[in-house]
Amino acid sequence: MEKFHTTCIYCGCGCGLFLHVEDGRAVGASPSPLHPMSRGRLCIKGWLAGDFVGHPDRLKHPLMRRGERLARTSWEEAVETTASRFRKMGDEFGPNSLGILTSAKGTNEENYLLMKLARAALKTNNVDHVARLCHAPTVAGLGYALGSGAMTNPISSLARADALLVVGSNTTEQHPLVASYILQAQSRGAKLIVFDPRRTQIADLADIYLCPRLGTDIAWINAMLNVIVKEGLADENFLSSRTEGFEALKEAVCRYTPEKAEEISGIPAQKLKEAARAYASAGRAAIVYAMGITQHITGTDNVQALANLALVTGNLGREGTGIYPLRGHQNVQGACDMGALPDFYSGYQKVSLSRPKFEEAWSTDLPGDPGLTAVEMMKAAEEGRLKGLLVVGENPMMSYPDISQVKRALASLEFLAVSDIFPTETTELADVVLPAACFAEKDGTFTSTERRIQRIRYAVPPPSEARPEWMWICELMGKFGVSADYSSPAEVMEEIARLTPIYGGVRYHRLGIAGLQWPCPAEDHPGTGVMHVEKFPIGRARLRPVEHQEPGEAADQDYPFLLTTGRSLYHFHTGTMTRRTSLLDREVPVPVLEVNSQDAQQLGIRTGQRVTVESRRGKLCLEAKVTPDISRGTLFLPFHFHEAPANALTNSALDPQSKIPELKVTAVRIRRAIE
């Protein structure tokens, strides 16, 4: 048995683990005691991270559509067909008829190569990935406010906080390792304040738990600021030396009294005052948030509101303080860092400003017109503007909002190529399917939610003809005349480092068990744990007033309930991996809709009974679970299950700034299913 040190494939925590390998098969995993974040601990998904690797369902051969079915083909034909179809469509309809969705599950190197493929070979900025559905508002919101759209401190810093504000994050289930640091801080005496429409485990453990109505976060955050300003809890020193725009903010928040916030959000004014005082009077206070903040049409403003809160109280740039956006995929941070975004090259270098630099480095001309975001690509496909799409390690047929629209969009394409490790709802629609190597079968790096760049290692051979994605991406680039003769991912990283200041000092030989946290501008730079210590990358941080806005869909007479979606501890995203991991699938084998106990009583619904839930876009029939832990009028459904895909119901209304769809609020109606 051999043991390989690698990085977990599931959430953004980026835990270190050992993969156990015997006779070329992954036979287990175990925690890594010296890893600086996970310290010898793992959640149940991490323990089982190697379980799906040898699953018999793995895609083993390239496939090509022949009429109704997908038939086995050779790698040469698959890559050549993809190249020639893309070339033909590009010539005929222009380069912006093409697009690439990269993978938050892929490596940094693969994401970099895919964005290079889009820009240098296909000549389009139509490149995006699933961050558009999770933390695009963080990239935009924190990017504007602080000058860097990522977690400000290392996760371990949470253990030193005196107050923790957890908003819209089911931390114990989605980021268990982060939760363990929060529990550690609480054991030390820190106050834990949780805002969530569901009484989750972390809410249950909180010192102060508040339950806002869906989509009313700006109202109560502004009201907290109102209390802080009125009661003299603002950090005047920090405000005057490190920030700008306080006067305008002060003026805006003075309208949001706790009483007004109570009207909007349903949070009792007195409780809100208590929470504001607990957060603002702590010596070191931290804000942890996730999709509950970002997946709204006010996503970017929600993030700005939290940044306002941290800035007004001076809670940045020190251990135990900071803003902690929790990213869902193990490399969604890296995919953003690598510029798999329509408006940025790697390292958040704007296309509008840095184009000449990349044209020179890649010795080719690059497109300047703005690209489409992920959900916009679906709309463009449906309208016939987008003709060809390459989807890498992503399953939009389950993860994107309004999947009947996604299906229409993908079916309207002239050509769809999909690379994945398992057959998915999306590969079913593809013209070419490319079998990929998984994290245990290739070298590369992932960047965790705390900006930690870490290695994954080749431990077992890929099944049959499956290959690491960087190999065929290079071949495809070659077919478009872009030189891409990298001998290894390490060589790709050297190019990334050359062109990306925040990754400037990253080399494989430097990536030991602790990896490196960006910004790491030079080879002798140790990386950065706590950011913004002395100053912000933009000099002064920007306070910006934001206003409450009702969600895109309100409950009404026809659709009187609001549905919110999320994940379970035991499953990941569209379930391609966890539903093939026997222990995890046994734990939560079927989708269940959470219904408030009082609502259930009125509707005559009991736990285990089948119900029909219907939105303006779709209808599902599934089991109900009656619980007091969700607020009245609200329903909850995880989106892992193809048996009842939550996104058949969700709304694709977008946040105008970050273009994230409002996955967290959908107006629905519910009734007992007739059987």
């Binding site: 890594s32 793992l42 149940i44 363990s180 026997s582 222990l583």
Partner: protein, 329 residues
């Protein structure tokens, strides 16, 4: 039967043995000690790895047999067990193996376990420098091993005092005589002295004896602890005594029957097909884990189901004191 192995002879001895069988030993991977197949790397004997060598007897995932369908008939291909020597097993893990031997050896025999067990040579390594979380002394599982090994090494000044604990071990000593010199009374005295010192290091530690833990269990607020349990299952997966498993068939029409480690802290472990769960809350599941170790296993084997290795405390995501059964402060 005993002999002394000089420090310089340890690696050559293992090399010789690895010609005959797979040698598993603690080595460093990325600076971390782990049990893995030894290919001549420097040995990492300073501390006991976080993942116990029990995984070589009861793997996280093992193929019991493969099935192949041909013209509507199935043929079965049994898995083959290789001869293996595990070097560097600490007394606590050795004690755990004795417990597993009793449980899996009871009727009906667990043939998959016993086949692996029979083809494995156990070379124990006494703890003269106990770890910070160790309470083996109070569990009667260390710091020195008494039985269950084929060979047992104790690091003494001049090398390793090597004792045979089974006929197979005695035969190995005989066969590999060229690596050993004669053990004298003073070597044995040195071993006893070092182990006594180790016991003295362990003695003053807080009371983590079975009776103390059973007292804590009486007083514990299981529901409050269950609220903090993040259901990571780590305590069951690092525990060298935990042995629950699940069996599944993977692949149609051809495939494999797989046995994988299971975990009683998952609700699915005790949930019935109807959806009813006799251990409905996380607190009840946590309590069951303790009851298994301090009531059920002792009733079945006469031995405590805990060997005091301290691993469950190191890995607990819920920040619980696993001995006092309180929230850590």
């Amino acid at each position: 039967m005993m002999a002394v192995l000089s420090r310089d002879n340890l690696v050559p001895l293992l090399k010789r043995l690895s010609e005959k069988m797979e040698v598993v030993a603690p080595i460093l991977v990325e600076g971390t000690p782990v049990f893995a197949t030894w290919k001549g790397e420097p040995l990492a004997l300073e501390e006991n790895p976080l993942c116990s060598p029990v995984e070589f007897l009861l793997p996280q995932k093992e193929v019991l047999f493969s099935y192949v369908q041909y013209s509507g008939r199935y043929t079965f291909e049994a898995a083959l067990w290789r001869a293996r020597l595990i070097f560097g097993i600490r007394p606590c893990d050795l004690k755990a193996i004795s417990i597993l031997d009793m449980l899996f050896g009871a009727e009906p025999h667990d043939e998959a376990y016993l086949a692996r067990r029979r083809s494995t040579v156990l070379v124990a390594y006494n703890c003269i420098r106990p770890g910070v979380d160790c309470s083996c002394l109070q569990m009667d599982a260390g710091p020195g091993g008494r039985e269950g090994f084929d060979l047992q090494l104790t690091e003494i000044g001049s090398g390793y005092l090597t004792e045979a604990g089974s006929p197979a071990g005695a035969k190995m000593l005989e066969e590999q005589a060229e690596f050993f010199s004669e053990a004298r009374e003073e070597h044995l005295q040195e071993k006893e002295k070092l182990l006594k010192e180790a016991r003295e290091m362990l003695e003053p530690r807080e009371d983590r004896s079975p009776s103390a833990i059973k007292n804590a269990m009486e007083k514990a607020d299981w529901e409050a602890l269950g609220k903090r349990c993040l259901a990571c299952g780590s305590c069951t997966l690092v525990c060298p005594v935990c042995h629950c498993f699940n069996i599944l068939d993977q692949g149609v029409p051809d495939g494999q029957r797989i046995r994988c480690r299971d975990c009683c802290l998952l609700s699915g472990f005790s949930r019935m097909a109807s959806g009813a769960n006799p251990r409905a809350t996380q607190g009840e599941r946590l309590k069951n884990w303790y009851l298994d170790k301090f009531e059920y296993i002792p009733a079945n084997t006469g031995l405590w189901g805990c060997v005091g290795c301290g691993r469950c405390s190191r890995v607990c995501l819920g920040e619980m004191d696993r001995w006092a059964l309180e929230v850590k402060r």
